[in-house]
Each structure stands twice: as C-alpha cells, then as structure tokens.
Symmetry: C2
DNA sequence: GCAATAGTGTCTCTTAGACAGTATGAG
DNA sequence: CTCATACTGTCTAAGAGACACTATTGC
C-alpha cells in the first residue's frame, strides 16, 4: 500500500451519510491502459509490454501508466486529459511516435471502460481508464517508459501467458468491443492504409472475428452499404501472391455507421 | 482549486519522461454520476437533483458523488467498488432505497463512460465515472445526501435548463447508449414490471426512441425474436383505457442479445 | 353502436447466404 | 498450363414494413 490513500483529505461535503465506520473521500491514482490492436500477417495482434519493474516485474502487460499533472516553470498546474494520456502512453512506451511519426492521427483511439475494483493494483487504490486503439500495420515498436520490451503479440495465444493486474479482463473486453464495432461501424478501415482493396478489408474482418467469410458475398455486401467505401478508380499494380486479377482500390467512405450492418456469422451462438 | 492535486505525491516510477516542465503523477478525486432513466406516463424521464451546495448550488445535476474509502473501527481500510458507489449514490441521494426496497436488484446498472477533462469541476481535478441505470416506474424519490430536491424530469426538455458540470454531455451520451442498447438487447424489459404486455413494451421503445412504431409489425417482431419474451399464458384483467381486447402477458425470456435486432426506423438519418 | 385497441394474414421489397461461373494473372 | 483469386449472376429463404382485416373491450 504505497501511495497516499487520501484518507481524510479532500473537501468533505456536508450531510447525508450514515453512522458506522469513518468515511473519507477517495483520492485515487489514475492510470490509462491501452488495448492497441493491429493486423500483422493476417492475424490480429495486440501490443504488449514486458514490465521493467515491480509490481508484476517481468510480466506481460498492456501499455499504460499514470495520468500526469504538469507543473510549468511559472508554477502553473497543467492537468492532462485522459485521451491525451492514453495517446502519450501508447506513443512513449512503445516508441511509436519516433518510429512512425506520419501515422499520428491515423490511429483510432476510443475509451473502452474504467476498472476500479479494490485490490486490482497492489500499490493501493489505482483506477484505470482503459482505451481501445486500432492501428494500421506498424513497424516493430521499441521499448520506452517502464517497459523493458514491447511487441505485437497474436491475440489467439494471450491466455497462455497471464497478464499483469486485471489486464486479461481488459483485453477480453477490448476484443469484444472491437469485434462488435466492426459489425456496425466502418472501423475495420482503421486497420488499413488509406487505399485498400476489398480482399484486404475482408482479411481484417476475418482476423478480428477469427472466422472465414464468404468472399463473394462479402464483396457485394461491402459495395452495397452506402458510404462504406469509395472507389478510387485505380487497381493494384500486381495480382495476389498466387495470381489472380488485380484488385480495385478503395478509400474510406463518409459513413459513420454501416446500414445494413455486417453481422458476424457466429452471432447465434452468443445470444443466450 | 480546493483539493490536493497530488503534485509530488505518489510513487514516482523511474525513467522515460522527457525534459520540460516538472511532472507528477495525478492524484484525483473520483466521483460517480448516474444517468437513471425510467418511463413515466409514457414519456422517458431522467432522475435529476437540485444541488444543495456549491459548486453549481441550485443547479440541476445528475445524482452522484464522491467514491468513498471506509475506515473501520479497527483501522482497516475498505475501499468502495465503483459499481457499488454508483448504486449507493442512486439509492442514498434519491431515497429510493428507503422508498422502494423491494426494487433493489431490479434496477439495471451499467458503466457508461469516464469524464476527466481538466477543468470540468471547479474544485480541482475530479474525474467522474458515469453509470447508466434503467428502472421500472418508481414512486417519487426523496432528496438525501447533498441534494435539496430530486425528481424525475422528462428528457425532452432537459436542454432548456442547463445542467451542472458536464452533466448535459453525460446525459446525452447516456441517452444515445440507451437508444442503441434497446436495438440489440432485451433491456427495454428493465423498464417494465415482471409481467408485461407487448403494447407496454412497445410504449417503452416509443418513449426511448421518441417515435411511433407500427403496432402490428412490432408485435409480430417481438414474438419472433427467439428468447426475447416468454408467454405466461395469462392476460390482463381489463382492456385498455379506451377499450379493446385484453392483452396477453409475457415475462422476460432468456436471450441476452436480440437477433435479429429491432432497428430504429430513423437510423438512416444518423448514418453519415 | 362507436371508437380504440390486440392481434393475424398477406403482400412486396430488401437482404443474407449459397452456389455457379467468368476473367485475370503469378508461377 | 494450372490454380488461386477477383468479381458477377442468380436463386432461395428470411426479414422489414405496409396494408387490410377480425376480434374484443370500454364507454
């Protein structure tokens, strides 16, 4: 129990609480953790670090860290926004900012959920705001911050190696959110470069959902959803690795929601 | 700027941050705020309190308050879970616990999102975890905690009276989440008593979505979605207020997701 | 009786998904 | 050439939504 638990500090507001144990307002440490997903070699990968210090030293974990308060030279307090903290941790701890500067802003980042179960962090009361990031294929990251190593790991095998803190739960929630968002938003395109083919888009869906899709129906479906993709008029320079015609190129359309949605074939099994 | 901003406290972890301003780990105050929705007289209502003290004294606000740390008589620190804090604030600040004890556990409560923009609370760095609650029609609440008044307000008019803090934004996010969840989950049933009729269920959808639905098609659709509702074999004692046959009674089925989903008719307009 | 409502029948249009089939290009 | 692949055609079954219609109740 290292940090100040805030017992007795904070401005206590009057009235309304009951007899019984002494009560104080919780001052908590706030962290952000990022579930960053990408597609590498046709499989879904998540960015994991190996922790360089206690607690959970040597364990795999999601990139993340404490939200900060900056104190400028003139004494002005500058607080960090949660979204900014998530983006900073992702860039800093993985070297992505240095390695892939032109990709800044092309990484989709959204808040996932907040985890505050007492005891989730042995250092004391630490509440974590988790974020979900979708990134196009990126170069190998480089460790920074308190990470001793960092790498894209296939999500299929993550359960084999337990993660630090409650990060396995956060990752599971992030994966479910990602799988669900692919159904009714065009976010799959966030995994791709600005110009892409329909088969590449299908590969994203197959990797995230973990199942094969019917190529012909997927193709027609994608083109029939208004605003999903927009033709560039161009085609790839060469055919696929094993031959075939050159695929046409598309870019993102202006739709923010897909209607009708692309539903997962296996949905029926999760209904009850 | 009342509360301790945590500058300089907390266990600083080594390495990795850049030159420039002095940096410290943020110790924040943590609050929960609840967007509690119900259907009253066929219209969607949200539970609002009138704040009894500064800041925003006299303004309307969502029920909520600080997450607490309890210190038992033997000095043991007992931290409060976020979900528990949300439920406690909802019950305490509105008197619902005393008024409607048998309804505890019948109120659906889920985490909505976390709001931590610097400056959102004039008292300092206060981060709020917002929750969304669906409740069946409840008796009038009674003020408690730091609320000087509390009431169910129709959501249609909330924008006329600005809410404290960033609660208007939180309410808007909660409404959108609720509207969306009705499409693909059976949560509309959370607004109803254990036995209900299809027209009552339709009234929930109409109130939350704010649009009239086609009664005949809605009826057939609800009965055709596997596991949505389950017949009790009974019917209401009397017909509607203006006549008509007695409606059959149903209870919740075992589905956790609706497939196929019930889509909002007006969805097309929000797509781009 | 009249008006409102619960619930069913049925028709049309759209969509999902299966399958067949053609054209293209790497090796 | 062979074979995988991009893409199109077409058929079937299911669902969404519109409309007509019957049955039942309060007044």
């Amino acid at each position: 129990m290292g940090t100040t638990l805030g017992a007795g500090c904070g401005d206590v507001r009057g009235g309304g609480w009951r007899e019984g144990p002494q009560v104080s307002l919780a001052q908590v440490s706030l962290t952000v953790d990022v579930v960053a997903l990408t597609i590498r070699d046709g499989t879904l990968g998540v960015l994991l670090i190996r922790r360089g210090q206690a607690p959970f030293e040597g364990h795999l974990a999601l990139p993340g860290g404490f939200v900060r308060t900056f104190i400028d030279d003139d004494g002005q307090v500058r607080e960090e926004d949660l979204d900014a903290a998530a983006r900073r941790e992702l860039e800093e701890e993985t070297g992505l900012m240095a390695v892939a500067e032109p990709l800044r802003g092309r990484i989709h980042l959204e808040q996932l959920a907040t985890y505050g179960t007492p005891g989730r962090d042995p250092r004391g009361r630490v509440v974590s705001v988790a974020y979900l990031a979708f990134a196009p294929e990126l170069p190998e990251p480089r460790p920074g911050g308190d990470a001793s190593a960092v790498a894209w790991e296939p999500v299929s095998g993550f359960s084999a190696r337990p993660l630090a803190f409650d990060h396995a739960r956060i990752l599971a929630d992030g994966l479910e959110r990602a799988r669900s968002k692919l159904e009714y938003t065009p976010l799959a395109i966030s995994f791709l470069h600005p110009e892409f083919t329909v088969p590449e888009l299908r590969a994203v869906y197959e990797a995230v959902w973990g199942e094969r899709l019917h190529a012909a129906n997927f193709h027609r479906k994608v083109l029939s959803v208004p605003g999903f993709v927009e033709s560039t008029g161009e085609a790839t320079e060469r055919g696929g690795r094993r031959g075939g015609p050159r695929a046409r190129l598309y870019r993102a359309g202006d739709a923010r929601l897909l209607h009708p949605a692309l539903l997962r074939p296996s949905r029926e099994r999760e209904i009850r």
